[in-house]
């Protein structure tokens, strides 16, 4: 264990010295905090309508202005953060579970099992998954849990490839052979010996998957096929903003800015994490 703790403390040291990554981490921390505390810190309820006020530009009462129904934009962005970040994390979690198990099994089993499993990944890679997500949303209704599952089911492929490559590298090392010789069961081999050694690449790739997932959710919500009202994510806020941008440009600009800054923060943090955990990997 002392070996792995040096790896991690080294990584944390490198990470804290990377300004862009730390900047990203701070923004993310603030965002997650805001999302978690939305009901307490939001100045208004996300559905509170002030029809007489209507759309108003940013003012003292409404810092980011209000939408056509007189709803406070800041509050809606804060509540939207809950959904957008939730989709980002949960769908990435789904992708993580599928991808890691698939990769570990394929890499550890090797031979025929490996080649069949990776062939499946290759084939799935070549298919237009975004279309299947839309298909699923159309057929089974636009349900939040289906959205999590569908996005997660699409994003696991790269994770499976990365994990498999790592496991193949580890498989022939002495500690794995020793554990095998001692009769360790497959399950505890995965859990106790393989998984802890590939946590680094998994963490890196998971961090970089979150922005992709959020983009996908935003894309679907923008088309009206993702999150449905009265719930709102940043994607639906941008969609609403586009509809009235000619007169009320702030309705597009602030949600768009929030979304972009979040994606920046996630990408910077992910890149920093990658550099910190594995200084050899280069940017592609």
């Amino acid at each position: 264990m002392s070996k792995s703790s040096t790896l991690w403390s080294d990584a944390i040291y490198r990470l804290t010295r990377n300004k862009a990554a730390m900047f990203g981490a701070i923004i993310l921390f603030i965002l997650i905090l805001c999302a978690a505390l939305a009901p307490w810190i939001a100045p208004y309820s996300y559905s509170f309508q002030d029809l007489e006020l209507g759309a108003s530009p940013p003012s003292a009462a409404h810092i980011l202005g209000t939408d056509v129904l007189g709803r406070d934009l800041l509050s809606r962005i804060l509540y939207g953060a809950r959904i957008s970040l939730l989709v980002g994390f949960v769908a990435t979690g789904v992708a993580l579970v599928i991808g890691v198990s698939w990769g570990i099994i394929a890499g550890y089993a090797g031979g025929k099992v490996d080649s069949v499993m990776m062939r499946i990944v290759d084939v799935l890679y070549g298919l237009p998954f975004i279309i299947f997500i839309i298909l699923l949303m159309v057929i089974f209704g636009r349900n939040l849990w289906l959205l999590f599952g569908a996005i997660g089911a699409v994003e696991w492929l790269t994770m499976a490839r990365i994990v498999r490559g790592q496991v193949i590298g580890l498989k022939n090392q002495e500690f794995v052979m020793a554990a095998k010789a001692m009769g360790v069961s497959n399950f505890s081999m995965f859990r106790k010996h393989l998984l802890p050694n590939i946590l680094g690449p998994i963490a890196v790739y998971a961090t970089l998957t979150i922005p992709q997932v959020m983009l996908l959710e935003g894309f679907l919500s923008f088309l009206g096929l993702g999150i449905q009202p009265p719930m709102s994510s940043w994607g639906t806020l941008i969609k609403d903003g586009v509809e009235s941008m000619e007169e009320y440009s702030w309705l597009l600009i602030y949600p768009g800015l929030t979304f972009t800054i979040t994606l920046f923060a996630l990408n910077f943090f992910g890149d920093g994490l990658r550099d910190a955990l594995d200084p050899k990997t280069t940017d592609n």
Binding site: G126, P128, I131, L135, F219, I238, V242, G256, L263, N267
Partner: protein, 307 residues
């Protein structure tokens, strides 16, 4: 190499068959009949409709009829637009989407490759930092935000470009093409920078320089061939992304292409249209992936010699 191509082509056939079958039965799983929407129709009309669309046959018979139709390029009639066939709608929308995607990829390649190669050659100078910072913006600003922002700036505030349409007003193709191409320009810039950096450090480049070739020749004839392989392999998967992007861009700019038809079909629950376009898109993407893998293989001398 030809044998690899044939092998991949043969693998593509069962994959596409599986996709077509899976989508067909998924669509059959959809709750509710296609005609019990807004206004109730009389039982007799419903019966006639079901007959016209071959819905009274068993699912298996429908499946066989549908699959043999596809093989002849017939995707059946549209549920929402009576009298129009899905194949017809694909044929109307496809040229528009292709043209849009073509301009977008052209813009992406021109901007992406030139700035990526330049950044690699001028590593760690402003000519490297500035394009790469812009590329990061291109990756983080989603198409569905970029499009409306460009419309807001150039269409509404500056009033120099049309805000929607395709081929009706002069210049109305500019904003959609830029919107769709921008993110890809960013990816391609990063890929070509990375690829070039890798190649520029290799021995054969040093040899080329040592024998006195001009820098221009070294870069264009020797370095770029290898350095741009990642870009070529990216182009196949990029087609899939361009397609998704076309859904957004065609919706924003009201372009009558296949992407907008698809989104509309999804809203109208036009099941036959969704089914047909899904299968068509899959076939197209499988084909383009094959093509770009092949091109990348051909460019890479190592894999060329192996076969």
């Amino acid at each position: 190499m030809i044998s690899i191509f044939i092998k991949r082509l043969l693998l593509a056939i069962p994959v596409l068959l599986a996709v077509a079958s899976l989508t067909f039965f998924l669509v059959k799983l959809a709750p509710g009949g296609p005609f019990d929407a807004d206004k109730a129709v009389s039982p007799q009309v419903l019966k006639n409709l079901n007959e016209a669309y071959n819905l009274n046959a068993s699912e298996w018979e429908q499946y066989v009829a549908y699959m043999s139709g596809i093989l002849q390029g017939d995707f059946g009639p549209s549920f929402r637009f009576p009298g129009r066939s899905v194949s017809e709608m694909i044929a109307t929308g496809l040229p528009v989407t292709f043209e849009l995607a073509f301009y977008a990829i052209l813009i992406a390649l021109l901007i992406g490759v030139s700035s990526g190669v330049l950044a690699a050659l001028k590593r760690n100078t402003y000519l490297d930092f500035i394009p790469m910072a812009i590329a990061m913006i291109g990756i983080c600003v989603p198409t569905f935000l970029m499009g409306p922002l460009l419309v807001l700036i150039f269409g509404i505030n500056l009033e120099i470009l049309p805000v929607s349409g395709w081929g009706q007003l002069p210049g109305d193709k500019i904003l959609p093409s830029i919107t769709l191409g921008f993110a890809y320009a960013a990816y391609i810039a990063r890929l070509s920078r990375g690829g070039m950096l890798e190649v520029l450090n290799q021995d054969f480049i040093r040899t080329a320089r040592a024998k006195g070739l001009t820098e221009k020749n070294v870069v264009i004839k020797h370095a770029m061939q290898g350095g741009l392989i990642p870009v070529v392999s990216f182009l196949g998967p990029a087609i899939a992304g361009l397609l998704a992007g076309s859904f957004v861009v065609e919706t924003i700019f009201q372009i009558p292409g296949l992407g907008r038809f698809y989104v509309e079909a999804a809203f109208n629950r036009d099941y036959t249209m969704i089914l047909g376009t899904t299968i068509f898109f899959s076939a197209m993407i499988v084909f383009f992936n094959l093509l770009s893998d092949l091109a990348a293989m051909w460019l890479n001398p190592r894999s060329r010699d192996n076969s």
